[in-house]
Symmetry: D3
């Protein structure tokens, strides 16, 4: 009954890349966020030394930026696209009296292309989060990565999307 189709599958249910070669080239923006949950003591450890802190965030930021450029290698049905820019930012969300510290990661990606950059933003957040995990796992294996989601996209035929705002 449902007429909604998953465009990544053809009539036989086989995976395929969607044809974008005749779409218009428009400006695309996508923003994704995610959270890394760690113990307060782990957060204090990485915040303890100004230089170290700079470096740890910087390593994760670069990992996210470089991973965004690898998105079409990682996500099978993603198209190559000429990215305009990639920004990855971190903010410590939680008050010190909570048991778990929360670090929010936000990635913004732009491009002028025939397809969106949602997956690039989601990939940047995910790999930045895994990199934080990697650098802290010797002291805190209980770190987890959560609620990675798209918060905004614009450009293309499907228009603008804001998380939590009904279309």
């Amino acid at each position: 009954m449902s007429r909604i189709k998953l465009s990544h599958f053809n009539k036989q249910g086989q995976a395929r890349m969607v044809d974008i070669s005749q779409k218009l080239r428009t400006r695309r923006i996508a923003i994704a966020v995610g959270t890394v949950f760690m113990s307060q003591s782990t957060l204090r450890l990485i915040e303890g030394n100004q230089l170290e802190k700079g470096n740890l965030w910087e390593v994760a930021r670069l990992a996210g930026i470089m991973a965004a450029k690898k998105t079409p290698e990682l996500i099978p049905m993603c198209h190559p696209i000429l990215l305009g820019n990639i920004d990855v930012d971190f903010s410590v969300l939680t008050p010190a009296n909570k048991e778990r510290a929360e670090v929010q990661i936000k990635a913004s990606v732009t491009a002028a292309g025939q397809t969106g950059v949602e997956m690039e933003a989601m990939t940047a957040v995910s790999i930045a989060a895994l990199t934080l995990y990697d650098m802290c796992k010797a002291v805190d294996k209980g770190i987890s990565v959560g609620e990675i989601s798209l918060t905004f996209k614009s450009g293309g035929k499907s228009g603008t999307y804001k998380r939590g705002v009904l279309p």
Copy 2:
């Protein structure tokens, strides 16, 4: 005060790879899990056709397996390692009367090597989850990926870890 050090940083707080070249080669196992939250209607859509379902899971599974092999390219301080095997599995967790459907992804990785395979398991889960997102995003942009965490590891000097079990 704290004597715990982040081994990925040297005394100057600069990033470096930890030297593993003189560690013993032991059997390593790591298991990670993560969850994809989607609307019940999206889940029904992908479960509606037996063949399509097979394919969608299979695309995500392969993406996870292939991404695990790329871990040292993605996570800056990860060492190359000769992976033994990689398994990625999916289970639908939620009863149909809940508003959000939950699909759990579990990745198990083994190797005989000088370092662990935790990041390979975490990467496999993350990219499999992003691939599910990619294939469903045309019908459900509100999908989110959550609580990616390590549930088990064994092998190496630090021994066995089970999530939720105190050391």
Copy 3:
């Protein structure tokens, strides 16, 4: 005597990439085919279980799609291009009474770009074929891959080509 030149070599016979930066951006299509020859019993084995069959073809299909995106990394003189879509299909060609079973692989690639996508289609067929080989080699090392060729291309200055049709 011959005035035909191999454009990948300069006057000194040194390899170089052909300059496409001033060519027009036009719609490009390329179709390539290839055949995997295996024993009838191997084919029966992979066709025996509906789910397994789906998966084996799906693994090979994805490998072909992902390899097409890697073409400029694999073929030294190929240019990066923004692929529009990639389709990879399989058909069992042979009647069951022939000694060798033949599985035909067909890849179609499109793009809007300054150069053709012939190599992307040829690469998709080749890697899909090697993936079938890999998954069956434990039971049939005698599998071979044959007659990989371009059957169609359109777009660009050299126009349309159909295999077997004189220009």
Copy 4:
């Protein structure tokens, strides 16, 4: 009835990598061959200039060697392995009075590892062949690649295999 299983699929028919982490590390050799069919005039063109000929073969040889190192990125279920060496050779097979010229490509690969190098040899042949195609396609789109197959392997539990010799 059949007890032979495809080891790349688990009981549910899902793709997985075979676990090699507890296999012995033994010396592995694999040899694969393939043929490129081109017009006699194309072959004459590439053989006409001693230097050019050297270069064209050399480009294809290097492409094959570099592709062999990428095998685990290309073939989804292949394991990373520490390759010992890779040789790629070309021989012109056909007398000048035949309509189609045949160039044979042979790749030999060795390693000391826990899994075989058959796929590395097959990949080297395939990509060397596609590279020849790429460099000649401006003058001969009818070139085709044929009968890529494994001719020899040794090492590992399954022992030695020679094409055409019954086990």
Copy 5:
């Protein structure tokens, strides 16, 4: 005081990719050079055999061309770009009576894009030089690579640059 800013860093001094998605697409050219210093006897060795010489240069040339295509994977803040062509050339600079032989490497890269191709030219020179080093290091570990620099660029808002010519 200085108003000049490093555009790869935002106001907080964090690394970011510069946004090029709204820049004009213009023709870009960049030329870079570098020098490999080796002993006269090493140079004689590689020049001794016409075929060998051809091959050694050809291996280094191809390595440079293929590395240029990987620039955005290697240089963290580089954007993907659709390269038009890449040429890599070698010249022996030094008279035979000098103690050290000098081989000059020159790489020219073109593209029609929203950003320059300086880094692609610099990368091609660097990797071609390292490849020469790799192939000769068994006989001459004292080889060094020197004075890699940009000699020319044109296209884009910042216009034309020639090394040694004041703007």
Copy 6:
């Protein structure tokens, strides 16, 4: 006359990978250095802000570390190897009264393997240098990269090498 052979070429002068599959696995160390020459004002600019400085060096350091892991993809005849660790360091060499500032880059790499890690150290230095160039080129196109060379290696049949020390 000369009996010294370039081991990367076989008797026909064709490129090949050297067979290391029967060599012993020993501990390998390699150290390489290189210099980036820039104007004093560019150096002051990057040193002006403590945080910025940390970041710029950190971006270049990470680029070097990640590139070292890609060495077998970049240098055609390099073997894959399981790197133990990679360290990349920077020191400002020149007094402020000299016209050109000199930043020295030093990379140290270790592994337990069947072949050396000289090329990994040389690649780390080169790509770290190019990354510094990339981040400063908007303000100083005259930056050049110089005298990249191996200063130390140990391990393997050819033993220990120190630059400037006769064997």
